[in-house]
Subunit: 215 residues, 2 copies
């Protein structure tokens, strides 16, 4: 993407959530300024990498003076579009769906799960962490009436294709996919898939190669 006339590479964008998380922790601890070498220790990255990354967001890291934590947190939050609340729903009232509904960090960043959807009649009407489970029949109506932006898909592979096809025709803006499929949505609906096996392979790589350059 471009910020002003400066190009910010995908590699840097992908590191922004991590900066945002650490800066958020510093902010909540009342830290006002931090040097690249302190951040470097916290984040297990080189100070020069951190300076290179953060220099994209304005020259506010001054030698011996450090970065303004709150300013940087807000700037990165703007790029990640975290400065307003986002309505979500969960599809799948299984273990994974239930686990995600219980994450307290998501509401803190403005991501609110309004409802859970499932096909199991025994689950419909029950609550998961105070969120009501609805029938899948009500999905499209609910999405429209509640201006839902993001749908979380936490169901088995076999059913995931059909659900993705239904979502294609809705007005949502993004799918956060935990099913073991790769599905391309039409223009206007972004997809981010969590493939846990990839993370496990990276751990395995780190173990085998003792490579500390992978964060």
């Amino acid at each position: 993407m471009y910020k002003g006339n400066k190009y910010i590479s995908p590699a840097i964008i992908k590191r922004l959530p991590r900066y945002y998380r650490f800066l958020g922790e510093l902010k909540s601890e009342g830290v006002e300024r931090i040097s690249s070498s302190e951040l470097s220790k916290m984040m297990n990255a080189t100070a020069s990498q951190i300076r290179q990354d953060l220099n994209n967001f304005g020259g506010f890291g001054q030698q011996g003076y450090g970065y303004n934590v709150e300013y940087l947190y807000n700037e990165i939050g703007k790029i990640l579009h975290l400065n307003k609340p986002h309505n979500m729903v969960m599809i799948g009232a299984g273990n994974l769906g239930s686990a995600i509904c219980g994450y307290k960090t998501f509401p803190r960043y403005g991501f609110n799960i309004l409802a859970v959807f499932d096909v199991d009649p025994n689950k419909i009407g029950s609550h998961i962490h105070d969120i009501e489970v609805h029938s899948m029949d009500e999905l499209e109506t609910f999405l429209d009436e509640n201006a839902v932006e993001i749908v979380i898909v936490a169901i088995p592979t076999d059913n995931a294709f059909d659900v993705m096809k239904r979502l294609e025709k809705t007005h949502i803006k993004g799918v956060w996919n935990f099913a073991h499929i790769d599905y391309e949505m039409p223009n206007g609906i972004a997809v981010e898939s969590v493939h846990l096996s990839e993370s496990l392979m990276i751990l395995n790589y780190k173990i085998a190669n003792n490579d500390k350059t992978i964060d």
Copy 2:
């Protein structure tokens, strides 16, 4: 890392699990050769990026001839150290731990969860997807007796620090961490943390910026 005398950057390493997953699918469908442009369509990356990445693993992508799927799959598997089985245990018999115990892709890659550990007396002795839940008191003995390499930590933040401290003193090789903490292990124990909030922020970025260059 170096392969032979060729340096392979962390950015490429991080993309290897994705290549491995797609190549594994092609292999199981009986596909023998694939061109960078076909892979590019499947993986939503440019063909030139794919050629650049894969050229690190030998010059076996010939113009108009394509890559040998099985060879490439095996080469990447070796780098990721997936050519032997890996013993794991799960700490936490909650929703997330249960969901991960049910993933069928992990055993397919040689990752086997041998036992689950929890502090809840009501859960100890029960089974999650045929895996027995043990008392946390038995953890260290079990790790030693079963040559466990990887411990999966799927418990609330509050308890995670104490568990990490216990794991520091064991002979395991890696921690796959789902707790919302960043914990540095001593040399010899690798850590890979899954911070789901970071993935959700990237989805949000994609939605806000309509940026298709982020995979």
